[in-house]
């Protein structure tokens, strides 16, 4: 009768995600100057990593699946890097 129960890893991931949400909203009201944007994007990246690793089961995957999953990030990196380089370096 225990086969319907969610694994502890899923419950843990869900609770950590909600805690990180509370943390990021709280920190948004703390004056950190340019640090606010860095904190918000860092916590967002951690949350996305948890969703990808645990909900999307990437921590149980290897090789080819990780390459396919990473391809999107790779192209996104090129898009943002080349797209922003001009604007960020203009004087």
């Amino acid at each position: 009768m225990t086969q319907w129960r969610p694994p502890l890893s899923l419950i843990g991931a869900w609770l950590v995600l909600l805690a990180l949400l509370a943390l990021t909203v709280t920190l948004a009201y703390v004056p950190l100057g340019a640090g606010n944007a860095i904190v918000a994007m860092s916590i967002g990246t951690i949350k996305a990593g948890i969703v990808a690793a645990i909900f999307m089961e990437l921590r149980h995957r290897s090789g080819l699946t990780l390459v396919f999953a990473g391809a999107g990030l790779f192209w996104l990196g090129i898009l943002l890097w080349l797209g922003l380089m001009d604007f960020l370096t203009r004087t």
């Binding site: 694994p7 009201y29 967002g44 999107g72 943002l80 922003l84």
Partner: protein, 214 residues
């Protein structure tokens, strides 16, 4: 259909079929990453050009609704991951309920988004329909709200597609689920989690900037 013919002739086995489906979903998700990536690139360029306007505009968004919607979406992702994990013919009933629960949370997200849009309309913050903002930063604030409406509307469209998929799978999985249904559910779950990840970043870009200053 007997399980022995559950995979098409191009596959060597059921795991081979499932692996192929998973890789296909990740290719699709990569294209979606670039769709939202283009929007986010535009946002970053204009935020870099008008940092104060974007901070001020962000303070006019509904952070309570945005935060509640993030919690709603994270919880619905949890329910879908749970359904994928316990999927079997013996747990068809509970799987159906989990998927329906996730779909209802998705609808709650859309409903809250509607409340948010109507408030913004009331505050004359909808570019192209009714945008009025007194002050020196009106133009950059309008740029922010153009991004806001395009990005959240494209995201909401993805939500509606996902809700439809979840309801369809809940109906199908109610009776005699097979490994094919599990593969379909796994693909839909990857899509749903991806939509969740997009929202995590939209939330950080739309609602959080500018909160610590006034």
């Amino acid at each position: 259909m007997p399980e022995s013919s559950a995979f098409a002739p191009q596959y060597a086995s059921i795991p081979h079929r499932d692996h192929t489906a998973e890789l296909g979903m990740w290719v699709f998700i990569a294209t979606e990453v670039l769709l939202f990536g283009g929007l986010i690139l535009a946002y970053l360029v204009y935020r870099h050009a008008f940092p104060q306007g974007f901070a001020e505009a962000s303070r006019h968004t509904e952070i309570v609704i945005g935060t509640a919607n993030t919690a709603v979406l994270l919880t619905s992702s949890f329910l879908v991951a749970w359904a994928v994990e316990i999927f079997s013919p013996d747990t068809a009933r509970i799987t159906t309920w989990l998927l329906m629960g996730a779909a209802c949370l998705g609808l709650a997200f859309i409903a809250l988004k509607g409340v948010e849009y109507s408030r913004e309309y009331g505050e004359h913050l909808v570019p192209g329909i009714d945008f009025q903002f007194a002050g020196p930063r009106g133009n950059s604030i309008q740029l922010f709200f153009i991004f806001y409406f395009v990005a959240t509307a494209v995201h909401a469209l993805h939500m509606l597609i996902g809700i439809g998929l979840l309801i369809a799978l809940a109906m199908i999985c109610r009776k005699a689920p097979t490994t094919r249904h599990h593969t379909a559910l796994h693909s839909a779950a990857l899509y749903w989690h991806f939509v969740d990840v997009v929202w995590i970043f939209l939330f950080a870009l739309i609602y959080l900037p500018g909160r610590s200053s006034s």
